[in-house]
Symmetry: C2
Subunit: 251 residues, 2 copies
């Protein structure tokens, strides 16, 4: 994309916001978007008028309700989420643990839904947040079923360590991915934080392609992954069935 | 906003999508955005490159994962949602009924979260969907606590009837809103569909302002609103407390 196109400048204003920058001043907005203050001011005013941005009482900018509404129309995340939520609620009601749903975006995963058990082990995820594929249960499921070229990119790059159980050796990861495909689900223990274990299973669309992964995240010290697997596999199958039943997509 | 500004043309491409138009062709995109096909093609390519739009296997356009991610940063909807979800889950676990969360946007409401009981009465709402304020429990709560000028606009316009219980007389609605403020919660029966009753309570932010409404929607024939009210009021209070405890907003 040409760095100077107007479209890219408009999009750069939106990209100035992230989880650490939910509400920012005009000068921050201009700096983070890489445009002059007068340009940021003029474009931001148009975005505010449309509802893509909102201004707070103190004059800061934030992402607006209307952009959230338009984003909610993305078929991949909220469409999937709508199909998955009842089954995720079932998992939560049965286990009272954290339940997560993620999709792959190139070599990362994006969490599209999360039910956080209030008494369950704390997890780092945020809806809309991204993470590496190699360290989480959902990531390993998504990577195990990704096209070979995606797997090679991930296996060819450094695999950061987050906790004592993170797989950082490419050959070990390759063996684990084969195991995930064979076993039908992933178990990732002390791989993101020292106190959490996740059990994850694949969700498929009508064509049989893996389009998401659902997981349950529990206390590592007391986790019994084999006992959790039937719940997660059953919920994943329910979501798969719900996706098959949806009005046919144009894909 | 100047109809000819480039920003507005970019935004018009995004506004071409709605719940009935999740995936559209280039010619539909151009027509719905009010631009020429070549302009739509060029701008859409930039939006695809950034991730605001995606192309399907058949070449149609849809809202992309990245726009959903940026939209997820809107403090009003997903921030509120994150604070509210544990309490909504509690309501769902206790009652197994539909649980809804809505905010007011000018003279309409927007549903920001919904837990749909799989065995509960069907409801029409969709996350990101809009509705009139006068007919639903959450809408009556939001309208009862809206600034007087907002109330006057709503009361001065026709109040569409959806079902036998919809309040369509402005004076009756005015009395009902006073009752909602006095009683502390709203009861709306057979007002949207013939078979549903909702009980809704206000959620306040740290300054005491009503920023959202939470409701439970049950079968009208067997509904006991007075028995449901304590659950909804308690959940609303929990969300209010969670909002107060959040890192101070700049508002």
């Amino acid at each position: 994309m040409s760095g100077s196109s107007v479209t890219s400048k408009v999009l750069a204003l939106l990209a100035a916001f992230d989880a650490q920058h939910l509400e920012i001043t005009l000068s921050e907005l201009a700096r983070r978007a890489g445009v002059s203050v007068p340009t940021a001011h003029r474009r931001a005013a148009e975005l505010v008028e449309w509802g893509a941005l909102e201004r707070t009482a103190t004059g800061r900018y934030r992402i607006g309700l209307r952009l959230w509404e338009v984003g909610s129309l993305a078929p991949r995340a909220p469409g999937l989420r709508e199909a998955a939520l009842p089954f995720m609620e079932d998992l939560y009601v049965i286990t009272r643990q954290n339940v997560q749903l993620a999709v792959r975006d190139d070599i990362e995963l994006v969490f599209v839904e999360r039910i956080a058990g209030r008494l369950a082990v704390p997890v780092l995820t945020r809806v809309g947040g991204r993470f590496h594929l190699h360290a989480t249960g959902v990531g390993q499921v998504l990577l195990a079923h990704a096209p070979p070229q995606v797997q090679e990119v991930v296996l060819g790059e450094p695999l950061p360590r987050y906790a004592s159980g993170t797989i950082t050796d490419p050959d070990a990861l390759r063996r684990e991915l084969a195991e995930v495909r064979k076993r039908g689900y992933a178990v990732s223990s002390r791989a993101v934080t020292e106190d959490a274990t996740s059990v994850a299973a694949p969700v498929r669309d009508g064509s049989g392609e893996v389009v998401a992964a659902v997981s349950i995240v529990v206390e590592a010290a007391t986790a019994k992954p084999r006992e959790l697997a039937p719940y997660v596999l059953t919920a994943a199958q329910g979501i798969t069935r719900a996706l098959r039943a949806r009005p046919s997509s144009s894909e």
